[in-house]
């Protein structure tokens, strides 16, 4: 797997960016779980190191598998993820009011994580197989539309609002990238605007109570300060009180005194912001931005349309996860329960993120190779 050519073409710059972000994540997990770790238990940051090592293995795997091979099996993967989504709906394990997990052996696995990538690969394959020079028309968009709609509906049904949102966003980006006929764009926009109240109604009616309250408290967090608004309020206090230089590692009162919920997972950014201040946020966001622009650069320079679209979908996922997660901690997005890539504690997220970044490495590597 690691032949000479692979090592020579390994993008150390991007890898170092990834490692730096993961180190910041580890230090924040260390701090966030410091007070609550029972004496005998393995600290979570140690476990996370384990996930990182496994994740890097997956990164190298992603890098070694030819993305064109992946594309060849895109529909198979898509079908497999569809089956998993059905399984989770029937026999999944629930957590926090949602049925998102499948237990395999001692591990829990989130099929929606696979579904989002599988969907991206499937529509990428489709757009790459049927290029349309002057953009796509309605009939040509029916199949990708169905490909997107199936997982979105199934994921929303779990319900996993965050993943559903991200799959939709990334799909919209891809459609924008492959171009649709402008007349169609106009018709689609009009259609969406006209049916919006109707769609909103269906959307709202299908939400679980906790999702409705989340959205309502997002609009007005102080309405229920000890209930559902609690997360947002405590997170904003944590971030705001960090100031310019932050309170220092282990010195964050909001986090050390347990005011922040889910602080090593979804709200890890709040802990980081409280301890490292604006200065830390600035550095972290620059690191993320460098990684994102690197990914887009890989896309632009990819040797074929398939590579371009695949790279774009991967990096769009990455970016939307970052933006939505951070936006949620800042109180500009509703709490939808998605992790911050490379920072949040958790195996599934770490492995899928590093695997998909591995594919980026592969796409980049392929542009230097001529078969």
């Amino acid at each position: 797997m690691l032949n000479k050519g692979t090592i020579a073409l390994f993008d150390w710059k991007a890898f170092i960016l990834i490692v730096l972000i993961m180190i910041l994540g580890l230090s924040t997990i260390f701090s966030a779980t410091y007070t609550n770790t029972p004496v005998n238990a393995t600290p979570l940051y140690i476990k996370q190191i384990g996930w990182i090592i496994i994740g890097i293995f997956f990164l190298l795997t992603g890098m070694s598998i030819d993305y064109q091979t992946i594309a060849r099996y895109a529909y198979h993967i898509y079908a497999f993820s569809f089956i998993l989504l059905l399984v989770v709906l029937v026999a999944g394990r629930s957590g926090f009011g949602a049925q998102r997990w499948i237990a395999i052996g001692g591990f829990s696995f989130q099929p929606s994580e696979l579904a989002k990538i599988a969907t991206a690969f499937a529509i990428t394959r489709y757009f790459s197989d049927y290029p349309a020079r002057h953009g796509y028309n309605v009939r040509e968009l029916v199949i990708p539309g169905i490909l997107i709609a199936i997982p979105v509906v199934l994921v929303l049904k779990q319900p996993d609002l965050g993943t559903g949102m991200v799959i939709t966003f990334v799909s919209v980006v891809l459609i924008f990238l492959v171009r649709i006929r402008s007349r169609l764009l106009g018709i689609l926009t009009l259609l969406i605007l006209m049916t919006f109240p109707f769609l909103w109604h269906i959307f709202w009616e299908n939400l679980k109570q906790y999702q409705k309250t989340r959205l309502l408290t997002f609009i007005n967090p102080s309405a229920d300060p000890t209930g559902t608004g609690y997360h947002i309020i405590q997170s904003k206090i944590a971030i705001g009180s960090g100031g310019f230089f932050g309170k220092g590692i282990l010195q964050s009162t909001q986090s050390q005194l347990n005011f922040l919920p889910a602080r090593h997972t979804d709200f890890i950014f709040s802990v980081f912001a409280e301890e490292w201040g604006f200065l830390g946020i600035f550095v972290l966001l620059i690191l993320y931005l460098l990684l994102i622009t690197w990914g887009l650069d890989v896309a632009i320079k990819a040797k074929d349309r398939l590579g371009m679209l695949m790279a774009c979908s991967i990096i769009s996922y990455f970016t939307f996860y970052c933006v939505i997660n951070i936006g949620m901690t800042l109180g500009v997005f509703p709490v939808v329960g998605i992790p911050l890539p490379l920072m949040s504690y958790g195996g599934t997220s770490m492995i899928t993120t590093l695997f998909s970044l591995g594919i980026l490495f592969n796409i980049r590597k392929k542009r230097f190779l001529f078969y």
Partner: protein, 597 residues
């Protein structure tokens, strides 16, 4: 070539995508800048509010001792279960979890929390007190799952003598919402335990001390992590009462199961040695957080156990009032000790006959015999000559119809009628026949047992009216010394010493003369003087039907030549004073004499 063009367009659009992503990151940075730099101060204050909490440290309440140093009220440590409303994330779940420990249904707890919603959300609301050590351990080990649930250690009030001296001591309780509005409790926080009745209430300011505060760092469950600063509380002062618990218990056991009151005071100083009222309550029970049901049970008890009969019960003074009549008659010259009247068992007046308690009459009666045998006709005649307003003047002189000024709350002043009073209160003129009833202590007249004792005490104390009081001394917590208070003289009645001597001699005769009504008080230990009385409940026809029985009075002092102790006894529905009340007074006086030796 076509493929190339297509890809170039794609590359261009990826450029747009990059611009979008950079824009999104910039928006995040801008928002973070706004929160951390522009509004950083605001959020830091909120974080401090979250973290730092001002906690009240309750001071120890002062102990209460009797005159011999016996403890009447003290504090013992108690573990209470408190809820901090601000820290509770899920009320329903929390209540469900603690219900097995409190033994109170979640609905009742919810109602209780709802009722107390206005109090400080950061101070614990005590929902159950006196939980066991096992329950404390259980709660502490479940701390993570019970945010906002706290074990609060408090000094709990304990009255080792239980029901004994209950009315005098009173009880303590959590400050009420309306009390919080009163200026005297201005510096007290919600949840404070204050005196609610009796001495506990009257001297609350001395006893309660002042609260301390500490700033503590708390975590999200409201549990204390470390103390940042402390302002120590000041304990309340210990106080010493004039009460002698031995006499108090004697008085209570002498009264037994009968409803009534006993007042025992030092003749010269007015110090209260005992103050009993039956039925009594257990102040230990009332000082706890009572459930509504228990409280209702006490309040709706027809015997009114919370009512202090000694200072709040008003009864016609009966024949004991003849003491005031005799003093007034002598002073104003209406009678002379040698004057005699003929008593044939009644006196016709207007269109009816005012009857003597002794149907066959007392025969020829002078002042001495009138007092000793309690001849009503003698006083009908005297009263008729004096008129009600003169009677009222002398009654007031002896402290009847006015507050005695004892240091207990809600004292009643009773009623001494006058022509003016009747016009104002009843819009009717005074009928001369009514004067005759008043002259033997019936009719509109009503006095408290304490007033009765004070009136007799004034005779025993050479005509000096003193203020009865219970507080003997204060052991100041701040100045580390004991303060004692001198007796307070309210007024000198100025009654002629010879008149007082005549009355005292006759009062001795009540007990020692063969025809006296108070023979039951005769003691071999000391010479007791006293006066019996019967307070009519209803017209005589209904007598014998239990609760319509007359109240029995006996007011006494001893020793006759140099009085030291004054006792007034009232036995509700006890019938004749000489039989029901006099033995009680005798027992108390004998106990006093035994201890004095």
């Amino acid at each position: 070539m076509e493929q190339q063009d297509n890809n170039r367009g794609l590359q261009q659009r990826i450029g747009y995508l990059r611009a979008l992503f950079i824009f999104l990151i910039a928006v995040i940075l801008f928002k973070a800048w706004h929160m951390q730099i522009i509004k950083g101060k605001y959020y830091r204050a909120l974080a401090e509010n979250n973290r730092v909490r001002s906690v009240i440290i309750s001071p120890l309440r002062g102990n209460i001792y009797d005159r011999n140093g016996e403890v009447m009220a003290k504090n013992v440590a108690s573990f209470n279960l408190g809820l901090v409303p601000a820290d509770i994330k899920d009320l329903e779940l929390t209540l469900k979890r603690i219900a097995p420990i409190t033994g109170i249904s979640t609905d009742d707890m919810k109602e209780f929390i709802e009722e107390n919603r206005n109090s400080d959300p950061f101070s614990p609301l005590i929902i159950k007190d006196g939980i066991s050590m096992k329950e404390v351990a259980l709660i502490e080990s479940w701390r993570w799952f019970l945010p906002g649930v706290q074990v609060v250690v408090e000094g709990k009030r304990e009255y080792p003598n239980q029901k004994s001296a209950a009315h005098l001591l009173g009880y303590v309780g959590e400050i009420s919402k309306s009390q919080l509005q009163e200026p005297e409790y201005a510096s007290e926080p919600p949840g404070r335990i204050i005196g609610q009745y009796g001495i506990e209430k009257v001297y609350d300011e001395l006893l309660r001390g002042s609260v301390g505060r500490k700033n503590v760092e708390v975590d999200a469950t409201g549990s204390e992590r470390r103390v940042l600063s402390t302002h120590e509380p000041v304990s309340g002062d210990n106080i010493i009462l004039s009460v002698d618990m031995r006499l108090q218990k004697t008085a209570e056991s002498a009264l037994g199961e009968k409803n009534g009151a006993v007042v025992v005071m030092k003749t010269e100083t007015g110090e209260i040695l005992a103050l009993a009222s039956n039925p009594a309550f257990d102040p230990n029970l009332l000082s706890r957080r009572l459930s509504h049901k228990v409280w209702q049970g006490i309040v709706s008890n027809p015997a009114h156990p919370l009512n202090n009969r000694a200072t709040q019960g008003t009864y016609p003074p009966g024949s004991v009032f003849k003491i005031v009549m005799s003093a007034a008659g002598l002073e104003e010259g209406f009678i002379d000790r040698r004057d005699r009247i003929q008593c044939s068992g009644g006196m016709p007046f207007g269109n009816r006959v005012f009857r003597d308690w002794k149907a066959e009459g007392h025969g020829s009666v002078d002042l001495y015999k009138a007092i000793v045998e309690s001849c009503d006709v003698y006083y009908y005649q005297l009263g008729n000559r004096m008129g009600v307003d003169m009677i009222q003047k002398y009654s007031s002189m002896f402290g009847l119809g006015t507050l005695t000024g004892i240091d207990l709350p809600s004292e009643k002043k009773g009623l001494v009628p006058s022509t003016q009073w009747k016009l104002a209160a009843r819009k009717e003129p005074w009928y001369p026949g009514e004067t005759l009833s008043v002259a033997i202590g019936q009719g509109y007249m009503s006095v408290t047992p304490l007033q009765q004792a004070l009136m007799v005490n004034t005779v025993a104390n050479s005509g000096i009216l003193v203020r009865p009081r219970i507080l003997k001394g204060v052991i100041s917590e701040i100045y580390k010394r004991t303060y004692e208070f001198p007796p307070v003289e309210v007024r000198r009645t100025g009654i002629n010493a010879e008149s007082l001597r005549l009355i005292k001699e006759a009062l001795r005769g009540v007990v020692y003369n063969p025809g006296g009504t108070g023979g039951a008080a005769r003691s071999s230990l000391t010479e007791i003087a006293g006066k019996t009385g019967t307070a009519q409940v209803v017209g005589r026809k209904l007598q014998g039907a239990g609760r319509f029985n007359d109240h029995a009075w006996f007011a006494a002092f001893a020793p006759v030549d140099k009085p030291e102790i004054t006792v007034a006894v009232l036995v509700e529905h006890g019938g004749h004073g000489g039989a029901a009340a006099a033995p009680v007074a005798k027992q108390v006086i004998e106990e006093y004499v035994k201890n004095a030796k």
